[in-house]
């Protein structure tokens, strides 16, 4: 079965510094990978995805992610962090179900705290 792991419960970074939130995955076949952000008491907002093509994917709010097939990683990055980036971040992979269906498997989330 497909799975994703987010090894860090929390990441602290100073405002203006680059940030990285880590994600590794385990899939059979080609992975469909996603990043989402969640602000307090809200649903998840889609940030970016990797389906195929360029290994560096650009998304919303200046975020990008690097797909690395050999390391089975899909780390989320931003060159310069903002205090407003402080939130909970989830990595996800699309998993095939039965009868040609599919579903999304999420990591446990990483809380990003950007310090002023």
């Amino acid at each position: 079965a497909q799975s994703v792991a987010q090894p860090e419960d929390q990441v602290n970074v100073a405002e203006g510094n680059p940030l990285t939130v880590k994600c590794t995955y385990s899939v059979s076949g080609n992975p469909y990978l996603f990043w989402y952000v969640q602000y307090p008491n809200r649903g998840l907002q889609f940030l970016l995805k990797y389906i195929t093509g360029d290994n560096l994917v650009k998304g919303s709010y200046g975020f990008e992610a690097e797909f690395n097939k050999s390391q089975t990683s899909f780390h989320l990055k931003k060159p310069s962090a903002l205090v407003s980036d402080s939130a909970l971040y989830f990595c996800a992979v699309r998993d095939s179900g039965t009868s040609g269906t599919y579903k999304y498997i999420f990591g446990t989330g990483t809380r990003l705290k950007v310090l002023a």
Binding site: F34, G43, L44, S99, T101, I105
Partner: protein, 114 residues
């Protein structure tokens, strides 16, 4: 813009009550999902549906059922609410196939069972 709307932001129910959580999406998506979110556990899939009247169990279906009578609406039912079902419930929808395959989420329903 895709809109996924959950009927309530906050609910408080008593143990043993039958609870209905409603979700509506307006983008003609084939797939709809119910997740629950608990601290340290991330999002866990309860049930999903890939067509009207079609459903599949997720990872934690016990104590829940679902209904999808119309394409745009997916309901989660707690047959007899228990305190261990206190959680944040998130509904999502997505297209069946193609490149635009990301899921879109509702704002969540925070359910407290007392």
């Amino acid at each position: 813009d895709v809109k996924v709307t959950q009927s309530s932001r906050y609910l408080v129910k008593r143990t043993g009550e039958k609870v209905f959580l409603e979700c509506v999406q307006d983008m003609d998506h084939e797939n709809m999902f119910w997740y629950r979110q608990d601290p340290g556990l991330g999002l866990r899939l309860i049930y999903f549906s890939y067509d009207v009247k079609m459903k599949e169990k997720g990872d934690i279906p016990e104590g829940y059922s679902v209904s999808r009578e119309k394409k745009e609406r997916f309901s989660l039912i707690l047959e007899s609410a228990s305190t261990n079902q206190t959680s944040m419930y998130l509904c999502a929808s997505s297209l069946w196939s193609g490149m635009n395959t990301e899921a879109f989420f509702g704002q969540g329903t925070r359910l407290t069972v007392v």
